[in-house]
């Protein structure tokens, strides 16, 4: 058990996967000598060679498209998309090929491809480097979509994602890459890839978040405590499928739910969660499911990102609104 960062934990997870299975490959722009712009693949090309840790041409459709071909040949490619905003050139390959091949082939083909996406804002970057495109993929059948929020999850979830026979979109909270936490790589994972976790039990309102917003939700819970408001924080971890059981159990107790994400609220994950939890807990809910998220606007210039991004105050404002119902 040793403290490590999320970035390092993913690096360790990739390394373990490369060591254990010769079919695992890493591919993407600058993942080799540079180790990726976030150094998540640091040292891997040196240790596993250029054939397994592949610097690709600057073409994202090519990355995912050739990864599909490699998977058809029996490989398990892990693609890195350098930043969230650069996944769209690969959208066709992801939505029409990666997501649909298993079904098209009536299960004869498996595409165990992982697409890693550093996502979200808060790093003071220029345009296209701070986006939260996860809903575009969660709406797409055939994909699995997950996001980690701490080093231990990062390590185990990337390993579980690589082990999965279905394609997985793996969203990494880039602004938390350097946050520390304990990782015990000797113990097994505590949860399956598609299970949520109650990270802080509470009584009055459930706050569900994922990726970078888990810390924000936890901060809000701490801040609310002196006021006598007890928040239960759920780290969703899995966006497609959702772990509705864990959420439902929480909401049945608290009777109020606030969902938080950086992605725009309109058709963000919160919409689906609101619809499903309302259907499941119709009589239990004392307030409508409220959502805190990005605005219906392109991610702004970075000097405005603190205004754009949900923060503890915005979470608490929604909690108050929920309690006021």
């Amino acid at each position: 058990m040793s403290p490590t960062t999320i970035a390092k934990a993913i690096n360790e997870g990739l390394r373990a996967a490369l060591e254990r299975d010769p079919k695992v490959l890493i591919m993407g722009e600058d993942v080799g000598k540079l180790g990726g712009v976030f150094r998540v693949t640091d040292g891997l090309q040196k240790d596993f060679g250029e054939d397994r840790v592949i610097d690709t041409p600057l073409a994202e459709s090519g990355i995912v498209g050739t990864a599909i071909g490699l998977a058809l040949r029996g490989y398990r490619p892990v693609c890195e998309i350098q930043f969230d905003g650069f996944i769209y050139p690969a959208y066709d390959q992801i939505v029409s090929q990666l997501a649909k091949m298993a079904n098209r082939s009536r299960g004869k083909i498996a595409l165990p491809v992982v697409v890693r996406v550093p996502f979200g804002g808060g790093i003071g970057a220029v345009e296209h480097h701070s986006e939260s495109p996860e809903a575009y993929f969660a709406h797409t059948a055939g994909l699995r979509v997950v996001s980690c929020s701490n080093p231990a999850d990062a390590y185990w979830m990337i390993r579980q994602a690589i082990a999965a026979d279905d394609p997985v979109l793996f969203f990494e909270p880039k602004r938390r890459y350097w946050e520390k936490g304990d990782l015990d790589a000797a113990a097994g994972p505590q949860l399956g890839l598609h299970q949520a976790r109650v990270v802080r039990p509470g009584e009055h309102v459930t706050v569900a978040a994922y990726g970078p917003m888990v810390k924000t939700a936890l901060d809000a819970a701490v801040a609310a405590e002196p006021d006598g408001t007890s928040l239960e924080v759920v780290d969703l971890r899995t966006l497609s499928p959702l772990d509705l059981e864990t959420l439902e159990a929480s909401v049945e107790r608290t009777r109020r739910l606030v969902v938080v994400h950086e992605a725009p609220v309109f058709l963000g994950l919160g919409a689906e969660i609101a619809a499903r939890i309302t259907e499941r807990c119709f009589y239990a809910l004392e307030a409508p499911v409220l959502r805190v998220g990005g605005f219906h606007a392109p991610y702004p210039a970075s000097r405005l990102e603190d205004d754009y991004l949900p923060d503890l105050d915005r979470v608490l404002e929604a909690v108050d609104r929920s309690l006021a119902f």
């Binding site: 490959l25 054939d51 397994r52 690709t56 041409p57 073409a59 459709s61 090519g62 995912v64 498209g65 050739t66 990864a67 599909i68 071909g69 490699l70 998977a71 058809l72 040949r73 029996g74 490989y75 050139p89 066709d92 390959q93 029409s96 090929q97 091949m101 298993a102 079904n103 098209r104 082939s105 009536r106 299960g107 004869k108 083909i109 498996a110 059948a141 055939g142 699995r144 999965a164 026979d165 279905d166 598609h194 497609s240 499928p241 959702l242 509705l244």
Partner: protein, 388 residues
């Protein structure tokens, strides 16, 4: 240093003229024995016959749509027969002739066009990938697959049963897609063992070649640093020779090559299309004189390599095959609605499971109380479902 495109008119590699004369080519040769020639002839006739039957089945409502290979038989048989078992094929939606060479039962191809499935064969049983409908997407899969062959050490070993190559099929229209050009980048940068086989059938639905390029398509390859060649796509011998050379080259580890098979789409784009809206019949008539089957028949006949017996026998085989295709098509079972859910993921997915059970229950609700079989058909068009 400017580099203007070659002005000289592009020349076709040709080994058999439309009139059925053998001609030589300085770079490519193929000297098949009569048996091989007869076998190629048989292939051409059979795949055309299957195609005709499929078109008829579509007209009779048995298929939703059909994409005919009429006119492109030589391009497909010539290239398909040049493959070794260990090679892998990435087709579009029109490579019925190549499928034939990979021992995919033609009936299996119909499933997709009948709407019974989205691709009915096991790709790995035939080293023949499923049809790809999104134009160009498969060229990247082919390139990735070829990169896998490299990583398996199955290229350039000199072992003829081990060294493998990939062939990616696509049309003239496809050359405009970003994916296709990215596949050229990847293939050349990694020197991947992939042959890009472009069937230039002169049309992308209603758009002629000029809407996709202002130079011959085979010249695209030189912009990416690998060789391109234009072959008479209606000459099965030339296509065979050129494809074999390209595959050999790839298997030896010498990297990708681009083949433009210059041919013609004799029919409509698909059975849904009406080519009279955009092309003149004189053009079609002209291409009839270049028919791939007629020229091989002429060679066989004139060379005394086959007589009426043989030709009759092939016709009978073709009729038998067509009957088999028709028969099996008509008796193809409708898919089980549960199939909608069964293959979305390999591992359990709770939302799919939930929807799957909901649907099963919902459907069961339509079954008459006293019948074991669901009788959904009886209810079609009525305004009230049994579930209510």
């Amino acid at each position: 240093m400017t580099d203007t495109p070659v002005g000289a008119p592009p020349q076709l590699v040709q080994l058999l003229t439309p009139e059925g004369e053998r001609v030589r080519h300085p770079e490519y040769a193929f000297e098949p024995d009569p048996q091989t020639l007869r076998s190629l002839y048989r292939d051409l006739v059979l795949v055309r016959r299957v195609d005709t039957e499929a078109t008829a089945l579509q007209r009779q409502g048995e298929l939703g749509i059909w994409a005919s290979l009429l006119g492109q038989e030589a391009a497909q048989i010539g290239s398909g027969r040049a493959l070794r078992p260990q090679d892998y094929v990435f087709p579009t939606y029109r490579e019925h002739g190549v499928a034939w060479c990979r021992d995919v039962d033609p009936v299996t191809l119909l499933g997709l066009y009948r709407g019974a499935n989205l691709g009915g064969w096991d790709p790995n049983a035939h080293n023949f990938h499923l049809y790809t409908i999104v134009i160009g997407a498969q060229t990247l899969h082919a390139t990735g697959y070829a990169m896998g062959i490299q990583r398996d050490g199955a290229v350039g070993t000199g072992d003829g049963t081990r060294d493998a190559a990939v062939i990616a099929y696509f049309g003239d229209g496809a050359t405009s897609q970003g994916d296709v050009n990215e596949s050229f980048v990847y293939a050349s940068v990694y020197n991947a063992p992939v042959v890009f086989f472009c069937q230039n059938n002169q049309w992308a639905i209603s758009e002629p070649n000029e809407r996709q390029s202002r130079i011959p398509l085979y010249q695209r390859a030189r912009g990416f640093g690998f060789p391109g060649v234009r072959v008479d796509g209606n000459d099965v011998l030339a296509v065979y020779a050129v494809t074999k050379a390209a595959l050999d080259r790839a298997r030896r580890g010498e990297g990708p090559m681009f083949i433009e098979a210059f041919t013609y789409r004799m029919g409509a784009h698909t059975t849904s299309d009406d080519p009279t809206r955009y092309r003149i019949s004189a053009e079609v008539e002209e291409w009839k004189h270049k028919d791939p089957i007629a020229r091989l028949k002429a060679l066989l006949s004139r060379g005394g390599m086959a007589g009426a017996d043989f030709f009759d026998e092939v016709e009978r085989d073709a009729d038998d095959l067509a009957a088999h295709v028709r028969q099996s098509c008509l008796s193809m079972p409708d898919p089980d609605p549960d199939d909608m859910f069964a293959f979305v993921y390999h591992e359990p997915q709770p939302l799919v499971q939930e929807e799957r059970s909901w649907f099963a229950e919902y459907q069961a609700g339509f079954a008459p109380a006293d019948a074991a079989e669901p009788a959904r058909d009886d209810l079609a068009g009525t305004t009230q479902g049994g579930a209510r």
